[in-house]
């Protein structure tokens, strides 16, 4: 994987160059390289323990890399003390100062950087207005709801006009509804201020909804870096395909440009040998729907279970060779027995195991 390929070096704001991090015996990051473009919303996505928060902490300066370098705007970043970096962080539990009120919290960074006094007040007011918290300026953080604390944390970071904003699972402490609302606010805020966002989450839906690009981490290495649409449509590995959205992994082999995965046979350009394909459930249709599909692959299967999901239904299908396949079709009421299904051969994406 060459993540740098999709960003030309001239526009890269942040460059993570072959960074490794080990905590005593455990190697948390393994020679990881990543570029973040100016003005980009990039998400580090991964399970807990994948190293995404460690990478963020290295960039913020709370940890030192064991090897490698981090550069920002053509300057070495990893050797700078955290308080000298033009990077600000929105912490997972917000980390608002409990002894300071909302206004003092937001002014903290400006005062620490000796911003001229007459400049502090208007900038704080503007930041408060930006996150629609002006009426709470005198409140102590403990009196605010989770969403409000979240907004204050954002304002406290953005008021310093950082070159890069780091967000460490900032929405994970919020309930589902508020979370959706804050996602929208975050996205529009990022467009408004034009600051580069590096966002950490374990929630793939959140990553898809917000990001310009997603960097998927697995065990301290980058699995794939691409736009949400690209990573969804063309997952490079089986792990990516399974982590981002749902998928069917079809195991089989290719011989003479024909892939054979159990009873499923379809043309493939892959070289001869064992292969693995990812086939999204929503790429499979009921054949009776009479769709005009290019390179159709038809197969018969028995419906084992049906899960109603509002606008769609998820079907668990058992093929004649007892292979299990999941299909997501438009909602149409209860189904049972054997049916013919169809998918386009182009939808079966070859992935590495």
């Amino acid at each position: 994987m060459t993540p740098a390929a999709s960003t030309s070096p001239s526009t890269a704001l942040l460059e993570v160059r072959a960074v490794s991090k080990r905590f005593s015996e455990k190697e948390v990051l393994k020679t990881l390289s990543l570029n973040v473009a100016q003005g980009e919303f990039l998400t580090l996505l991964g399970e807990s323990g994948s190293g995404k928060t460690t990478l963020l902490r290295l960039i913020a300066g709370f940890e030192q890399p064991s090897a490698g370098e981090i550069w920002m705007n053509g300057e070495r970043l990893d050797t700078l003390a955290p308080y000298k970096r033009r990077v600000n962080t929105v912490f997972q539990q917000y980390a608002l100062f409990p002894h300071l009120n909302v206004r003092e919290n937001i002014a903290y960074g400006l005062r620490a950087n000796n911003t001229p006094k007459q400049e502090v007040a208007p900038r704080v007011e503007a930041a408060l207005a930006m996150v629609r918290m002006s009426e709470y300026s005198g409140a102590k953080p403990t009196k605010l709801s989770g969403g409000q604390q979240q907004r204050v944390a954002l304002a406290r970071a953005l008021v310093n006009r950082p070159q890069l904003l780091l967000l460490d699972e900032p929405l994970s402490a919020l309930d589902a509804n508020l979370r959706k609302e804050m996602q929208g606010e975050l996205k529009s805020l990022q467009r408004e201020v034009g600051i580069t966002f590096l966002f950490v989450t374990h929630d793939q839906e959140e990553a898809m909804a917000l990001s310009d690009r997603i960097a998927l981490l697995k065990d301290g290495s980058l699995e794939q870096v691409a736009s949400p649409r690209e990573i969804y449509a063309h997952p490079a590995t089986a792990y990516t395909a399974q982590f981002i959205g749902q998928t069917n992994l079809l195991r089989g082999s290719v011989r003479a440009n024909v892939a054979e995965c159990g009873i499923l046979r379809f043309p493939s350009a892959a070289a001869n040998g064992p292969v693995l394909f990812s086939l999204r459930p929503e790429s499979i249709f009921l054949a009776t729907d009479n769709l005009s599909i290019a390179d159709p692959v038809r197969f018969r299967a028995t419906i084992r279970q049906q899960f109603f999901g509002g606008s769609t239904e998820l079907l668990e299908l058992v093929c004649a060779d007892s292979q299990l396949v999941r299909a997501r079709i438009d909602a149409r009421g209860p189904l049972s027995g054997e049916h013919e299904f169809v998918f386009s051969a182009a939808e079966a994406i070859r992935v590495t195991p």
Binding site: A81, N88, F91, Y108, A112, K140
Partner: protein
């Protein structure tokens, strides 16, 4: 839920305890402070005579202000020792934290008297300190001012109360969420500024509790002056002790005790309110 009998059985012993060992003695002391002595015996006639004595006899004022001064110094010095110690342990001790914590606590298991006598042997004219000073030719004859002075009292009580000051400060430092410190650095504050603007304000409850410990415990101490204080190091509790003992002037002793009690309660009330003001979680 619980039967009436059970509730009674549970609440009676503490009630009995409070009445017998707190309410009754305090009431007796309070009553005594309004009585007078005549020809060596206590007369139960009510007057404010003892309190007027307390405020007119300069001897009591001298001892009282000396006690306040000693308590203030002990508080100051044990804070100056206890706070950096607690700060170091909480933030910078790393894996040695537990061991160092135990080392700070160990002196608390040693009897107060033993530690007092230890200071006597250190500070005395034939003591360890004088011996060392003469051996190193810093002094030519033993310094008698080391022992039996207010200085010795402050030294001994600072040594004894520093762990008491350390403990609440350490606890409050341990309670500071570390992301707050990181957030401060992240926002551009260096270590010094982070200390004064985040760590110190958030450790105020512990600092106040520790200071109160040292001050109040010193205010009522009478063993340190006996052991290392000498006549110039006499404190108010020694006066009370002698009034109840050799002088047999219980009413005056009681009046002084009531006076000190009110000061202590007032102090505790103030520091508790301050602690509340500085508590945010």
């Amino acid at each position: 839920m619980y039967s009436r009998l059970y509730k009674l059985a549970v609440s009676l012993p503490p009630l009995f305890w409070v009445v017998l060992f707190l309410l009754v003695p305090y009431s007796l002391m309070f009553a005594h402070s309004f009585w007078i002595t005549q020809d060596g015996s206590i007369v139960h006639s009510w007057s404010l005579h003892q309190y007027s004595q307390l405020f007119t006899n300069p001897l009591y004022a001298t001892v009282f202000f000396r006690t306040l001064r000693i308590a203030a110094f002990v508080t100051l010095f044990s804070l100056l020792l206890g706070f950096p110690l607690a700060y170091f342990l909480s933030f910078h001790a790393g894996p040695r934290k537990e061991l160092l914590y135990q080392l700070v606590i160990v002196p608390l298991w040693v009897s107060y008297l033993v530690r007092g006598y230890a200071w006597k042997t250190i500070l005395g004219t034939d003591g360890v300190l004088n011996g060392a000073l003469q051996y190193l030719h810093i002094t030519h004859e033993p310094l008698s001012a080391l022992l039996y002075s207010p200085f010795a009292v402050v030294l001994m009580l600072t040594h004894i109360y520093t762990p008491f000051v350390f403990l609440p400060i350490y606890a409050s430092l341990e309670h500071i969420p570390r992301p707050l410190v990181e957030a401060s650095h992240d926002l551009g504050a260096n270590s010094r500024s982070t200390f004064f603007r985040v760590i110190l304000p958030l450790s105020m409850p512990g600092l106040l509790a520790g200071a109160t410990f040292a001050f109040v415990l010193t205010l009522g101490d009478f063993l340190a002056p006996i052991l290392v204080g000498g006549p110039s190091g006499t404190m108010i509790a020694n006066v009370v002790q002698s009034l109840f003992g050799a002088a047999y002037d219980w009413p005056l002793g009681a009046a002084i005790s009531v006076f000190i009690l009110f000061i202590t309660v007032g102090l505790l009330f103030c520091t508790e309110r301050l602690e509340k003001r500085w508590t945010f979680q």
